[in-house]
Chain length 743, copies 2
Amino acid sequence: MAASASLTLSQPALSRSSVPRHGTVTQQPTSLSTLAIPSFSGLKSTTTSSARATTNRQVSSTRRFVISNAAVETLEKTDTALVEKSINTIRFLAIDAVEKANSGHPGLPMGCAPMGHILYDEVMRYNPKNPYWFNRDRFVLSAGHGCMLQYALLHLAGYDSVKEEDLKQFRQWGSRTPGHPENFETPGVEVTTGPLGQGIANAVGLALAEKHLAARYNKPDAEIVDHYTYCILGDGCQMEGIANEACSLAGHWGLGKLIALYDDNHISIDGDTEIAFTENVDQRFEALGWHIIWVKNGNTGYDEIRAAIKEAKSVTDKPTLIKVTTTIGFGSPNKANSYSVHGAALGAKEVDATRQNLGWPYEPFYVPDEVKKHWSRHNPDGAALEAQWNAKFAEYEKKYPEEAAELKSIATGVLPAGWEKALPTYTPETPGDATRNLSQTMLNALAPVLPGLIGGSADLASSNMTLMKMFGDFQKNTPEERNVRFGVREHGMGAISNGIALHSPGFIPYCATFFVFTDYMRGAIRISALSEAGVIYVMTHDSIGLGEDGPTHQPVEHLASFRAMPNILMFRPADGNETAGAYKVAVESRKRPSILALSRQKLPNLPGTSIEGTAKGGYIITDNSTGNKPDVILIGTGSELEIATKAADELRKEGKSVRVVSFVSWELFDEQSDEYKESVLPSGVTARVSIEAASTFGWGKLVGSEGKAIGIDKFGASAPAGKIYKEYGITVEAVIAAAKEVC
Amino acid sequence: MAASASLTLSQPALSRSSVPRHGTVTQQPTSLSTLAIPSFSGLKSTTTSSARATTNRQVSSTRRFVISNAAVETLEKTDTALVEKSINTIRFLAIDAVEKANSGHPGLPMGCAPMGHILYDEVMRYNPKNPYWFNRDRFVLSAGHGCMLQYALLHLAGYDSVKEEDLKQFRQWGSRTPGHPENFETPGVEVTTGPLGQGIANAVGLALAEKHLAARYNKPDAEIVDHYTYCILGDGCQMEGIANEACSLAGHWGLGKLIALYDDNHISIDGDTEIAFTENVDQRFEALGWHIIWVKNGNTGYDEIRAAIKEAKSVTDKPTLIKVTTTIGFGSPNKANSYSVHGAALGAKEVDATRQNLGWPYEPFYVPDEVKKHWSRHNPDGAALEAQWNAKFAEYEKKYPEEAAELKSIATGVLPAGWEKALPTYTPETPGDATRNLSQTMLNALAPVLPGLIGGSADLASSNMTLMKMFGDFQKNTPEERNVRFGVREHGMGAISNGIALHSPGFIPYCATFFVFTDYMRGAIRISALSEAGVIYVMTHDSIGLGEDGPTHQPVEHLASFRAMPNILMFRPADGNETAGAYKVAVESRKRPSILALSRQKLPNLPGTSIEGTAKGGYIITDNSTGNKPDVILIGTGSELEIATKAADELRKEGKSVRVVSFVSWELFDEQSDEYKESVLPSGVTARVSIEAASTFGWGKLVGSEGKAIGIDKFGASAPAGKIYKEYGITVEAVIAAAKEVC
């Protein structure tokens, strides 16, 4: 296949919001218009025809070899003065942007410019004109506050997302250069970072994804998946527990293609890291099973950095930590090596002094011609890389059509047609079961039809019921398997899942623990929601219904806490149909994470529940009223929907007209039409009772000032579940009494 | 002072809820009735007079020496058969209790019984009859699921909280032996564990507290503070990021009196730890600055365990990790060393087999007489230890009355009289300031009058404004100082603060980060609330008002998420008086944690705000209506109270009668009388508008179905704060428009 061919296994717009966030229209790669087309070959590269032409002209076979071997070999040839000029360009783009915004973090970009230059100019394989090319190397700036480093690099590399005007709009309303890297704003940014430690854990997820796909799809004659994950992290990331969790797993899994560069600058916001961080980081990473390299001069030791990356690539059975000792704010004569350069503009005087010190006579935002020229090769080179890979994939597809189809589904996010037919349905006659068990049924029904489904639990697989029985464990030596064993590392698990989700839009990562322990991973869950990572959170033991483990294990406020979080779906299914319905929506929601709160205890299949109803968030399951005017509306979720149903039965015996509404997902209900909402909760009917074994916080809006919310506004207790339900008044009798009070 | 003296520097009932939680009355030590007496000497030991008499008779000077040297020396004398019998007693008490409850975790107690026996019988200094004796050694079972180990030990040691009937009520409604250790249910349990990793971090806090007090109050002639913190943690704790965070700090601070025993049994819930946990734990801890000892035979190597503890004590400049390799479920012929013994009853058949295997012919819950007799010495010995210490303290008090008074305040929780007068007040004429700065003013005003105030930030001291300017940093070699540098370790910080709070009721720990990063520490914050640890969470940058850092740093759902959490006070003060008011309540609330959400941006001092009003949670700040019938009520919190005030001014100009209500703490308002509530939010006035730069979730209940809640139900954005406020419609104009709509 010729290099000019337009077939590209790129990540399409599924990973981009088509709705602009802040009033500006985000520029979309033209390929994205073909999104709706399920056929793979319809996805086009964004490489312009002129770029492609250039490619055809310029890329000789030798050159091609050099490129596809990741350029480390080319580096030695580049003249050091030019490299230095490029590095200073990066520094001053960061300085100038922060200065113009009068806000931001110049210190990291100034210190990390050398490693940034080497990565983006010499090492990494990417196509600036198609940031979603599947086989690109991934880069994560875990120390996200230093985002001007990445914006400067994306700009020099030729990404359309960061033009000069974008740099000038750093940290301004509607810009594509926000204060921390946001994948949903800036094509070329892989994940959303800023909250420290998340990025390195995302990088572990990205590297896991690569290792898994490579093991699953590469053939002896076709290494179709083959890319690296690079990450820059700082002292702050290193202190965070999430980083240790994720890096322990990276070592355990032997993620040889994960290369983390640790910006060892000894400065954090409070000053010298000596005041709070005196551990031996190298030794800790060695203990975690990493290969360690120390670059002692990260400021000007370009060859050291190059050699370190080369060495890191040669170690294939372990991730590598390259400790790069740098000077924060390098070049600033009065602020370098101090916390004052970390998070504030240098100020005009110090900017001048830095310009003088580094011999930079140019006006703000200037990119010298030779630097521009030097970097300009990345457009044709990137196009060539992608074209070569496309040709390789075309060969692969001919030989291995089934594998190619699966990989395409993962790479494009186009789910196999009819996948949802795998979901079972239930009738009230079906024997009851815990929704955690029903969840396992769904996972095992979906695993064979969804190639991107991969996941596991934080050491609670047998309690969360998350094993896909047809697969083994994803491990160092069995990376083609799909059950992931996260150990007791909830926060790391969430962030790794985000990394998997954002690697390719057809990945459907799920992860699991007890619902109460979402508290341990809330930082990562919020990033799922913000960064549009469609992770499925399988959260079992969802209430006091777990019984004896007591209040440390019994969620109370968690449903409310997630209902308040933007862009996340909080499900609390009541039975088999609702669990199936929740999975249907969750799988479809590739840009919105879902949390499924599932019961430990057995629940009956209720009359009236359905997959379709679940998709509406709130719906009537039974009703003996006419004219949309019941005497009372009983609203329940999850395990308490049964209680509402039983109470309705009793009330109906007494002659009342009673509507029972399942409120399985508040967010989905909110999105329905006013007409539909009125058909379920008519404004004229103020006699409403809700019941949920959780905080009543938020229910006021639904039951209104005339209604009653039955719930639990204190911590739980250690006792058999039935006893706690009774003592806490989560009973049929309580619903009946409340119903009589309100109507 | 004679050993029979009744003066005891004990932790009084301040650390115990006087309201029974689940319908049973928790037995209170008799000393607690004296709680209200601020005088120190009025606090009595719970040692009964007969126990004291015994003490007087039995404790010879030699014996006293042995006891006060922590008993390691006595151990060698104890006969091994008896030790083994005691250890098996512990094992079977756990087995039998789990069996009777048909729920629980027998595996850990069976494996850890030897180290448990040695700690409680041979090493630790405590007084069973006064679990709150100030100078006791602290014990934390970080692997809280193994709580039957601790209950068995407390039972044998003679604590009144765990009688035989309590063991038989394991995991039942209203018992003092819940499914995980809960300090608020069971005197003798120091902290609440279960969520893994919390306990070891609490232990770091306890050890910090000891080191701090020892440095601050010990004199060359009076070592008045001198106790150890012991902790048992398992593989699960070791995997959690929070544990690494806290242990990194423990190493940094050189907490030589922290001795952690790591139950290295290679089994977690999902099976062999090989599947997810292959790091080198010893090496990691060495990197963290710990002293490491490996006990290879934790099952029967009693002398190894003893020697390890002895060695650990001899290392005074580093915390020690004793890796104790054990067999989970030791003694069970068919289930030992497997996950099946971790978290479920053995079953009658296997219990029988274990009885046979360990040569245990007794009925369930039996304690052999010689074991009983052996342990019976802990009552008199404990009383003697406390009496000796009391005598020592009496001497100390004579020589150092000022220091003694401070230490008493910390140990008893009785705050110095009139402390609250240190809080400044403000008028609208006082220049405006950010509430984060006002918070610093409060901390610096309170530090000189509250000896127990200690705290700091997770590497954001200069942003959170948390430095107490008159003190230096608490560090390895300056542990008497009171500014704590937590590094970027939010979760560890929260749990360490819980440990400090629960060390002594007069400690008032505070800790700080950006409000959005409560997501990183929510696991610890929930334990603060559950375990009645009065930590003050100083959470700045509380909304989109932080501006350019963007959505990763802008809290939206966080206020709602904490308003839904039981037993916690969520404050969002609007100005100087409200910040002072929030601190007043927070300092007084020693059994309920407080979160202060504080602005980055400058806010004016508003008319009508007050410390007294803040204490009511919601109150009227301005009103031009009569007869409790305003045309409209505008409700605001924090930075938006200014917006409400300005909107009111405009509306009043147009002839409306407008009430402005500050809703600084929903929880405190909920606790007011119905009458008061009606006086602020009369039910007849349904024209209500709320404004808060956060999720509207929960506001429905307050504004009602006729009202309007103005807020932010999506993620924030990176831009200057004023721009975001305008674009998101958090404006005076929006309030005016909404007010006109509703009235």
